[in-house]
Symmetry: C2
Subunit: 228 residues, 2 copies
């Protein structure tokens, strides 16, 4: 009988934010699939290792995806990753593919998942804490209350359009256009908070729009509450 | 030295979706505070018990909030809850208040948290998996990919306005106006999926707009992907 793929969300950074189910699934899987060229360079692997040090004794499979926005090249890479996993599933092995945060929110895991499902195998998503929840906990208050909507906005979105929305806005990975974001926030009198590398050893917290730097790292997240 | 309050997110229903940190915090706390009149009627307590059966040996504090939309009455109840907790904190006890899902997203925990902080005590948020992530995992696909925004919309919001937004919409607890929501979805040709009581024994899944019932239970959640 063919094995099964598990997409394991390791959460945003703190190994203790992994779920009981994620830990149990990692322990039960025959093979741990890791995004990247090298386990030690994989953020997801380092988080998983923090919760389960014996993970290094497991059979490993590295899944590399090129740093490109070319969808054709990316899709080929996901297909190749899926095929490498399916080879192991055919051997009856269960495979746990680690992914940062939650697999249902902007994860690259989902493309491998869809390929594997399409090829007739079983695949299951194991949730992780999304980064924006962890950031809000770190700031010690809620993201949204009562009748406030929550908008999670990827970097490609126009920041001006996002600020028109009522409720709380979370800007994901806006590092590359942080200078523009900061200027727009100041022009519109919006108070924002930002975290880089939430829950990781090199975490940095910025508690106001003024504190936000002109350049940020890849894992940055900005929270904008209701306008003043 | 005064004790500390922990707002413990128990996740959406499956006890295994609790985080390692939530379990560790429950075990370490002197007192478990439970929303409701009776532990056995508290959904959050039943979830916590599933992950930590010995929880019933802990000292318990019940925090009741009246079923009303009157903010004055609610705020008085949160204040009273906070005072009961502070009495324990003054005795040097640590208190873990259980809350469904994640404490940063529409939780009532946060009102107690703010009172306790305001009164000069320490309080910490322990994240839980939000219901909408668990629902998406259950449907076996992502909520959002690449450049899609995610909008989490409370029941009070106008459904027509929500449907105008690009990307994925999550309607929280729209049970009371499900008939209206269903009709609007049909008129606009939107495909939606709905779950009631996700991860709980009485979970019900509806995979299309047509399947969605005219009435739903309190813990219902509807996901609407991009328009057709």
């Amino acid at each position: 009988m063919a094995g099964k793929l598990y997409g394991i969300g390791v959460g945003p950074g703190d190994p203790e934010l992994m779920t009981l189910k994620a830990l149990k699934t990692m322990k039960a899987c025959d093979v741990i699939a890791i995004p990247g060229k090298n386990p030690s360079e994989s953020v997801a692997y380092r988080i998983a290792e923090g919760a389960y040090p014996e993970i290094n004794e497991k059979e490993q499979l590295l899944i590399t995806t090129p740093m490109t926005k070319d969808l054709k090249v990316l899709n080929d890479a996901y297909k190749k990753g899926a095929e490498a996993i399916e080879k192991l599933l055919d051997e009856g092995k269960s495979v746990g593919l680690l992914t940062l945060g939650d697999p249902t929110i902007y994860s690259t895991y989902i493309y491998v998942h869809r390929n594997v499902i399409q090829d007739g195998y079983e695949a299951e998503i194991i949730n992780g804490i999304p980064s924006f929840c962890a950031v809000s906990a770190k700031f010690g208050d809620s993201l949204v209350d009562r009748d406030e909507p929550l908008h999670v906005i990827p970097a490609s979105y126009q920041i001006e359009d996002a600020l028109e929305l009522p409720g709380t806005k979370v800007l994901m990975k806006a590092a590359s256009k942080l200078s523009e974001v900061k200027q727009t926030l100041k022009e519109q009198g919006c108070q924002a908070m930002m975290i880089e590398n939430c829950g990781m050893p090199d975490e940095k917290i910025y508690r106001s729009t003024d504190e936000i730097p002109e350049k940020g790292s890849y894992y940055s997240l900005t929270v904008i509450k209701n306008r003043k």
